[in-house]
Amino acid sequence: MWLYYIYTIVEFAMLTAALQRLQYQKMPIATIGILILINTACVIVDVSYISGLDLYNSFSKSVEALLLIGVSLYAFYDLLKYPDTNKFLGQSPLFWLALGILIYMAGNLTLFAIDNILYKQNNPAYKDIWDLHSVLNIVFNLFFIKTILCMKEE
């Protein structure tokens, strides 16, 4: 289970860095550093006091999702404030990456938040609802591929 915690820290850092790299008016490094620190602190609190190593890292995953929703919304704001009129929106790698992250994180936020409660209740729907996560994960990966293709075109 500890791998989930490490993955949460690495995933957040990588996705935030990728979004920042593609922005026109880049988010300050200090802000990104603070966000990574907040996320890491939440992971530590989660593993130490809330979920522990026996349960899914529901709390830290939810915080990561909320933070990434914020960062991707900032990416959309950047797209609107500095539109590149030489290309269509669909040709922008930032658009696809931010959209993929937003769909994945916003779609899964409730799932992340109530996962441990459902597990503790032995809810019969527990396994089924993770299928939703799988579908959103596929969507996110498809959008990630589109991002790479757009970057290649550039």
């Binding site: 919304l73 959309f76 797209l79 609107l80 539109p83 009129t85 269509f88 929106l89 658009f95 959209l99 937003l102 769909i103 916003a106 779609g107 936020l109 409730t110 799932l111 938040a113 109530i114 409660i117 459902l118 209740q121 809810n123 019969p124 729907a125 609802i129 939703l132």
Partner: protein, 265 residues
């Protein structure tokens, strides 16, 4: 307990649906806004291009008028003066009779005057492409080619395909000036023994190429840095909404190609 379970799943579904609605709303807003900005920027760009084109056109027309005025002054002023001087020389020769000591000098002066008169007429001719209005691009270029061939310095050929004379007169004049500039460049720099002009105009698209067999581009570069002459050509090509390229010709020399869309008269 059971109700609590149902509630949680319901919350999950509601949360996920809400998230999707939220994402959809954001994406719709971003796309709509981006589209509006994109269209607005494209309109601004088009307006700027049109403005630039109008300015270039006005500049070119001003230059054409100035050249025309200069050509008229050369033809009606200097050329006439030379003819009058020539006549005075003829009278002077008659008055001096058959005096050997002046004959050689008078002959030299006469030859110089004839040469000067021809040069002035040639300059005047180069400055006024009056034939474009009357006879069209192809005939005017044929006339120019004949003039080049008569000079004997370089062998020139012209090939026309389609309907180049259907291109509107203003654009024909621009094409003529571009070809004239290219030929001048070949004369000055290429050390070529022959040049070949090809004009093709079909269905609203024209391609003009001027090729020579000279020494080619400097340092064997495929693309040439644009000097003043070539920058003028670029500006004129812009007026035609055309694309101008110059590159190495095979086996030697250079080839300049101008592609542009045209409207018929």
């Amino acid at each position: 307990m059971h109700e609590g379970r149902v509630d949680l799943v319901a919350i999950l579904i509601a949360g996920t649906c809400g998230a999707f609605l939220f994402v959809a709303a954001i994406v719709a807003f971003v796309m709509q806004y981006y589209k509006r900005v994109f269209i607005h920027q494209q309109e601004l760009k088009t307006k700027e291009l049109e403005k630039e084109r109008d300015l270039l056109l006005a500049l070119m027309q001003g230059r054409e008028n100035e050249q025309k005025r200069l050509a008229e002054e050369l033809h009606d002023g200097l050329a006439v003066d030379i003819t009058v001087i020539n006549q005075q020389l003829y009278i002077l020769r008659k008055q001096l009779g058959e005096q050997e000591q002046y004959s050689a000098q008078l002959n030299t002066i006469k030859e110089m005057l004839v040469s000067a008169g021809e040069n002035v007429r040639a300059m005047s001719h180069n400055l006024t492409p009056a034939n474009i209005e009357k006879f069209g691009l192809v005939n005017t270029l044929t006339d120019m080619i004949a003039h080049i061939n008569r000079s004997g310095e370089i062998k020139a050929e012209l090939h026309a395909e389609g309907t180049p004379n259907d291109i509107n007169k203003n654009d024909q004049l621009i094409v003529y000036r571009i070809i004239q500039e290219l030929i001048q460049n070949i004369h000055k720099h290429a050390e070529a023994s022959s040049l070949y002009i090809n004009i093709a105009a079909h269905n609203g698209n024209a391609v003009v190429s001027v090729a020579d067999n000279g020494k080619g581009l400097p340092n064997g570069n495929e693309q040439l840095n644009f000097g003043i002459g070539l920058t003028n050509i670029e500006s004129r090509a812009k007026l035609l909404n055309g694309i101008f390229t110059i590159m190495a010709n095979t086996p030697n020399g250079t080839i300049a190609i101008l592609r542009f869309p045209y409207k018929t008269m």
